[in-house]
């Protein structure tokens, strides 16, 4: 092997001495990219020429030397200067040429390529230069490889072709001993000048305007990998070649469409990208050589530009139409091709957001390489075409008669070898299919998957055929009851039923239901809270042959009424009167009063078949109306038979029933154990939300099997007692929403040895259709898994053609578990249950609206939704239904709802409205119509919706709801406060929480409260309840509580409610309104700041059975005494809202009479007794209004105490946590106050009054603060607030009150 570094004096340079030039715009982009990562070799471009024939290396080196001397760009180095980077064109550079004879090597070509690969990984030093490298390898007696690597800043693909042609020309002449023809290269200075002229021209301004307008809506770049990444230092390449015949077919097809082969290739890639990335709006990147008709035509250098080509790709359009779009689009691009890619991105504001402008690139390089070196022909092979941001398809037409070469280059951060190979194979396959089919047919007929992939995803992954007997949901339960009559079937609290007892009770009820018309095909509604009676009722309906319709007792009356009318059940079973609306005409079966002891205990006769419906479950409907899904016995029977096969329940198993019956997960909870002889453990109502109670229940009842929605699983696992469940628990099922891998890991750590199964399915396909057993050591997203028995999954693209593995598409379901459809909604049914083109004739598939993809191992991964349906804590919500409810509220012009995730893992449902409506009132209004899980956590009022350029709502631009804190930030006083602010911030997902910010004001929800209390318990080891969070809702208050090691708070129902105990100032006492609770002043505490102690005064009897006071005087005397226990002497400061104002006035008088100073009496929209005296005292109904007002609601349809509680629960009001007994007390306290108030006689207070009027018009227009005059000696300083009485202590109004109060308090403190 001989090695020689060839160099020597070249021919006289055609260049003058060293010249300094600025960079062109094209070069600047490259310079900045390199400056970001100076050691990156990514901007190396390289190619290799295979020369077959004799070649004299010395002559070749001589030729190269001459070409370098002729090419300014090769002699450039680039240095930064105060005026920006400058390029220095040197008069002469040494020729970096390596010549090696590798003929002695075993595999010379391989050896040479290895050297080239290593050289390609070397970065150039821009400041030093030279920015190119040559090598010549002799790999055979008459075979040579000429390698050249050049920095992209100085050379582009077309430039290479100029260099190669000139080198061949000079070499050929020198080899023949002739004078080479004159060099016709232009100068680099010409390029620089031309660039500057363009940038100063009108054409530049016009081009810029063109691109800014064409992409004003800033379309999302299509991503084959599903995401973007920064360019790596290297790229992955997979090469292929299109045979001359295939190339010819492509040319013929193009000619027939009056296009060129690149147009066809671009159209094919657009079609592929559209389907594989699931986008109709496809933006491809087109590298343009940019030399036609300009001085650059003969200048080797860097000129090329990448420009966006935007195409609308739909399955309905034909391929010919797509090609036409490409032809016109490319023509348009060419007209404006000089405006730089980087400039377009900057003009559109994409640079700052690091957003891409284009998806994959199609780089067509029709460069002239038809050259010979003194008679030896050459073939060019590109080795690197520069940095690869995403995916680039390089297509080379070398005019050498060898067809087209196609390289797929991928960013290694996004594509591995297999992925790259798959994209290339599919692309070539698609080209083949396109050239063999009629271009005037819709592209829907063209698959992007290869035939092998089609067989995989349609057949191999769906081998689930399993013969099952034709049974029903109920049959196997009755058979089991006969087999093990004495075994325990059901446990609920102290209730325990054997299979015989359960069966007999259900049979008697079933006979009764049959007498009311229950039979196969009929529907019977069941509205019973979780209990043994609920299970009996469900079994009875099924035994009678009918389908059951579960109605959640907590749902608003309006929704229940709608479902009853829509489903028209033959009767409705409830546990007591008043549970269901009575005016729907549906006969009610009240279990509380029904006696079926006279009915037979044996199974009733019925003509039930597997095709009859087993249940009807309502789900959220996008048009604003819920829809009833009708599931036949055969479907759910298949589901439960598969589940038994997969997980094998035995008589020793105990299955927890905690899912509300209106969600279909409850179906397997109820019936699977009863089919298999296991025991059903029924949780108390409400228990499913309390992790500590659940853990205790699982342990005490030795539950082996249970279900969690993933978000509840997280809450459960955060509960310290959860770990104690590892003993009895054998398996846990998750479904309802995506299961985070982290949760699976926490599960494995917390409950080692317990199996975790991830299931997936919509109500429309009998609960679950896929399953995946979580591996404790697994990584990456948790798949939803493989299809269950007799079930086929299809992941389909926009043309409803199968997506290959790894490619996202919409998930369709087929097989035995499909529902019959939507009750009474044939059109909607036809829309979602469509013909299955891959199944037997007449079979159907269900369109889930879920986006998913196959893994290569035949499991499915869930990726998201195609529409606006969302899952919130496992429950399915159509945003359209919420938007319809919002829009129906008074004063709302437009409405929009979305689930925000402003902090990872914490989803918040937010409503947006325009129009004059009060957002709080809107929220209260929808809380009456929608179930709890569909009521937005916040409603935000906007003056207008943010719209994109096309006039479409820009959901991304909607602001996050602002949960205003105190606005009086201070640093935490000690480590405990600091830790608590941190925990608050973490749980609330806020960047910063001040020590005096109130949890509930900052957007804390009940679920978050559970989490917060758990975290505090964990970090401080302190006993803490949700009640104590309410009493001490700020980090400061909670810190104070922890510091004093105060015993766990009860429910914050004592006479003195310490809202803030710390602070230097004179305390403020706030007396409760009519309901007796002083919780409404919690917001005041935060707003008055940490220095102001604040005590709420609450009515006696809230938490015990103490007798209620007989007169206001007696009550006020009691309060005055309690106040003096806290603050023995004046000056006293008092505030009271509503009845609280009357009480505060009375307390003030009492304190004055005792000789104490009272320097503040603030009355919040309170009016003296005699104004009320002649007015009728309220009934219980009005007491309910008062309770609702305490929670910020105006009363609407709530008729009973239960209705009121339900409304509070749905709205997530902390008052809902009070429980029935306290609520009952409040309902007594309210009318008692109304009576006492009317009987009260005011005495005269000899000081001033600070008055706040809720100035919005009110029904009680006879109320006037002037009526206080006889009872107040001093001045009445009034402040009007633009709100109603109930709104007074909320939001902005409370801000106003607090600021007036705190100004007055400061004044008093001098």
């Amino acid at each position: 092997m001989t090695t020689l570094l060839a160099d020597g004096p070249g021919p006289a340079s055609t260049a003058p001495v060293s010249v300094e030039l600025p960079l062109t715009a094209a070069q600047s982009g490259m310079w900045y990219a390199q400056a970001l990562d100076p050691l990156s070799p990514a901007q190396n471009t390289a190619e290799c020429l295979e020369i077959d024939g004799p070649l004299d290396p010395a002559v070749f080196a001589e030729a190269l030397r001459q070409v370098v001397a002729e090419s300014d760009a090769l002699r450039v180095r680039v240095q930064d200067s105060p005026d920006g980077p400058r390029q220095h064109v040197r008069a002469h550079v040494e020729l970096p040429l390596l010549v090696e004879d590798l003929r002695a090597e075993r595999d010379p070509e391989r050896r040479a390529l290895a050297w080239m690969r290593a050289d390609l990984a070397e970065p150039f030093d821009l400041a030093a230069g030279p920015l190119f490298q040559h090598a010549l390898f002799r790999v055979g007696d008459e075979r040579w490889l000429w390698y050249q690597r050049i920095h992209h800043l100085v050379m582009d693909g077309y430039g290479y072709s100029l260099l190669v042609r000139r080198t061949a020309e000079v070499h050929t002449a020198l080899a023949r001993g002739e004078q080479p023809p004159a060099c016709r290269f232009g100068r680099l200075a010409d390029l620089v000048e031309d660039d500057a002229a363009y940038r100063a021209s009108e054409a530049h301004a016009a081009d810029r305007a063109h691109w800014t307008a064409a992409f004003a809506d800033r379309p999302e770049a299509p991503r084959l990998a599903g995401r973007g990444a920064l360019p790596s230092r290297t790229f992955r390449r997979r090469g292929a070649r299109l045979s001359p015949e295939a190339t010819e077919r492509l040319r013929d097809l193009a000619a027939g469409l009056r296009a060129t082969w690149p147009d066809v290739l671009i159209a094919a890639q657009a079609l592929y990208v559209s389907r594989a990335a699931g986008r109709a709006d496809v933006v491809l990147g087109l590298p343009m050589m940019g030399r036609m008709g300009g001085v650059a035509l003969r200048v080797p250098g860097m000129v090329m530009n990448v420009l966006p080509l935007r195409l609308a790709v739909t399955p309905e359009a034909t391929f010919a139409e797509l090609v036409r779009q490409v032809v016109l689009g490319v023509r348009e691009v060419r007209r404006h091709q000089r405006h730089r890619y980087e400039d377009i991105r900057r003009d559109l504001g994409l640079l700052g957001e690091q957003r891409a402008l284009v998806g994959p690139l199609v780089n067509i390089m029709p460069f002239d390489y038809g050259v010979e070196f003194a008679g030896s022909p050459a073939r060019a092979r590109n080795l690197s075409a520069g940095p690869v941001e995403d995916l680039t398809v390089n297509v080379y037409d070398r005019a050498d008669g060898h067809g087209l070469a196609i390289d797929h280059d991928g960013n290694p951060a996004l594509y591995d070898d297999a992925a790259l190979a798959a994209h290339q194979e599919r692309f070539l396959h698609l080209l083949d299919r396109i050239s063999g089919s009629d271009p005037h047919q819709p592209t829907a007929g063209l698959d992007i998957a290869t035939p092998q992939e089609l067989a995989l995803v349609l057949e191999e992954f769906n081998h689930t055929e399993q013969p099952v007997p034709p049974t029903t949901l109920i049959g196997p339960i009755e058979a089991q009851a006969a087999r093990t009559p004495e075994a325990t079937a059901l446990v609920h609290g102290d209730t325990r039923l054997t299979y015989r007892e359960l069966d007999e009770r259900a049979n008697r009820l079933a006979h009764h239901l049959q007498s009311l018309g229950a039979r196969p095909g009929a529907v019977v509604a069941v509205s019973v809270p979780r209990s043994a009676e609920l299970v009996v009722a469900l079994l009875a309906v099924l035994k009678a042959g009918a389908a059951y319709l579960p109605l959640d007792p907590d749902y608003p009356a309006q929704r229940l009424a709608y479902m009853l009318q829509d489903a028209a059940p033959v009767c409705a079973i409830t546990d007591r009167a008043g549970r269901l609306p009575e005016d729907t005409g549906v006969p009610l079966v009240d279990l509380g009063t029904l006696d079926v002891s006279g009915r037979p205990w044996v199974n009733p006769a019925r003509a039930l078949t597997p095709a009859h419906p087993a249940y009807v479950i309502y789900t959220s409907g996008s048009t604003g109306r819920p829809k009833g899904v009708v599931v036949p016995h055969s479907a759910i029977d298949n589901r439960l038979r598969w589940m038994q096969h997969a997980y094998g329940l035995t008589g020793q198993d105990r299955v927890l029933q905690k899912t509300p019956s209106s969600f279909d997960v409850s179906v397997w909870e109820f019936f699977w154990p009863l089919r298999e002889g296991a025991t059903l453990v029924v949780a108390e109502p409400g228990a499913h939300k309390d992790p500590a109670r659940l853990a205790r229940l699982i342990r005490e009842q030795a539950v082996t099997t249970c279900h969690f929605v993933p978000s509840m699983l997280q809450v459960f696992l955060a509960e310290p007692a959860a770990a104690d469940c590892a003993g009895p628990l054998r398996r846990v099922f998750c479904s309802g929403e995506a299961l985070p891998r982290e949760s699976a890991h926490v599960f494995a750590r917390t409950l080692p040895g317990v199996a975790l199964h991830n299931l997936y399915g919509p109500t429309e396909a009998a609960v679950d259709v896929t399953y995946h057993a979580c591996d404790p050591d697994g990584s990456g997203p948790v798949p939803i898994g493989r299809p269950v028995w007799n079930t086929r999954l299809y992941v389909l693209d926009a043309a409803r053609r199968p997506c290959p593995p790894g490619v996202p598409g919409e998930l369709y379901l087929a097989g035995r578990q499909l529902a019959d459809g939507y009750l009474g909604r044939p059109e909607l049914t036809a829309e979602r249950f469509v013909t299955d083109p891959f199944g037997a004739p007449g079979s159907r598939m269900y369109r889930t609206g879920d986006v998913a993809r196959w893994t290569e191992h035949g499991e499915v991964e869930y990726l998201g939704r195609t529409d606006h349906q969302v899952k919130l804590r496992g429950q399915r919500i159509e945003l359209g239904e919420i938007e319809a409810a919002l829009a129906a509220q008074d004063g709302v012009d437009g409405a929009c709802a979305l689930v925000r995730e402003d902090r990872p893992g914490e989803q918040l449902l937010v409503g947006y409205v325009t129009g004059g409506a009060d957002p709080a009132a809107v929220r209260a209004g929808v809380a009456r119509e929608l179930p709890e899980h569909m009521v937005p956590s916040a409603v935000v009022a906007l003056t207008a919706f943010p719209l994109g350029p096309s006039g479409k709502l820009e959901r991304r631009e909607l602001p996050p709801p602002v949960f205003a804190g105190s606005g009086r930030g201070r640093e935490p006083a000690d480590a405990r406060e600091a830790a608590l602010t941190r925990i608050f911030a973490a749980v609330l997902g806020l960047e910063h929480v001040g020590p005096d910010d109130t949890f509930f004001d900052l957007g804390g929800t009940s679920l978050l409260a559970v989490r917060l209390v758990a975290r505090v318990r964990e970090e401080f080891g302190a006993e803490l309840t949700i009640g104590s969070l309410f009493e001490a809702p700020t980090p400061a208050a909670l810190a104070a509580r922890l510091a004093t090691a105060a015993p766990a708070a009860g429910d914050a129902l004592g006479v003195v409610l310490a809202l803030r105990t710390g602070g230097e100032r004179t305390p403020l006492f706030a007396v409760h309104p009519a309901g007796g609770l002083a919780w409404c002043y919690a917001g005041l505490s935060a707003r008055l700041g940490p220095d102001q102690p604040l005590y709420g005064i609450q009515a006696r009897g809230l938490d015990d059975d103490e007798p209620l006071p007989r007169t206001l005087q007696e009550e006020a005397e009691d309060y005055a005494a309690r106040i003096r226990e806290i603050q023995p002497h004046g000056p006293y400061r008092l505030v009271g809202w509503s009845v609280g104002g009357i009480l505060a006035h009375t307390v003030a008088v009492l304190l004055r009479e005792a000789g104490e100073r009272v320097d503040l009496l603030a009355l919040l929209d309170a009016f003296p007794a005699e104004q009320w005296r002649e007015r009728p005292a309220p009934e219980e109904g009005d007491a309910l209004t008062a309770v609702l007002r305490m929670a910020g609601f105006e009363r609407a349809g709530e008729r009973t105490r239960e209705d009121v509680l339900a409304t509070l629960r749905r709205a997530g009001s902390p008052l809902a946590g009070l429980g029935d007994r306290t609520l009952a007390r409040i309902v007594d306290i309210v009318p008692n106050h109304a009576r006492m108030m009317r009987e009260h006689r005011h005495r005269r207070f000899d000081g001033d009054v600070l008055f706040f009027t809720a100035a919005a018009p009110r029904a009680e227009d006879w109320l006037t603060r002037e009526a206080w005059r006889p009872h107040v000696a001093g001045a009445i300083d009034n402040h009007d607030l633009d709100c109603t009485h109930p709104q007074l202590l909320r939001d902005a109004h409370l801000d106003t009150i607090a600021s007036v109060l705190s100004a007055r308090l400061e004044e008093l403190d001098g």
């Binding site: 072709s161 100029l162 042609r165 016709r184 040319r251 009056r258 060129t260 082969w261 690149p262 050589m289 030399r291 036609m292 008709g293 035509l297 003969r298 490319v330 023509r331 060419r334 067509i364 029709p366 460069f367 002239d368 038809g370 037409d397 005019a399 008669g401």
Partner: protein, 75 residues
């Protein structure tokens, strides 16, 4: 086989999808939709079927039928 002016015009018209009668001798063909790919297509065809020494830059520099005829040695 020697290249003729008529052959050049016919080939140009063919690759532009136009009628040869609509291709003037002295108009810039870029205005008629001529692009680098089409230049390469013509160049390949002419190299294959005729003896042509001109390269891409030569053709792209003066894209008219007339100029090409002179360049390609058509009398």
């Amino acid at each position: 086989m020697a290249l003729t002016l008529e052959q050049i015009r016919a080939d140009v018209a063919d690759c532009l999808g136009e009628d040869p009668a609509d291709i003037p001798d002295d108009e810039n063909l870029v205005d008629y939709g001529l692009d680098s790919v089409r230049v390469m297509t013509l160049l390949e065809r002419w190299r294959r079927e005729h003896t042509v020494a001109a390269d891409f830059a030569d053709l792209a520099e003066q894209p008219t039928v007339e100029a090409w005829a002179a360049l390609l040695g058509v009398s």
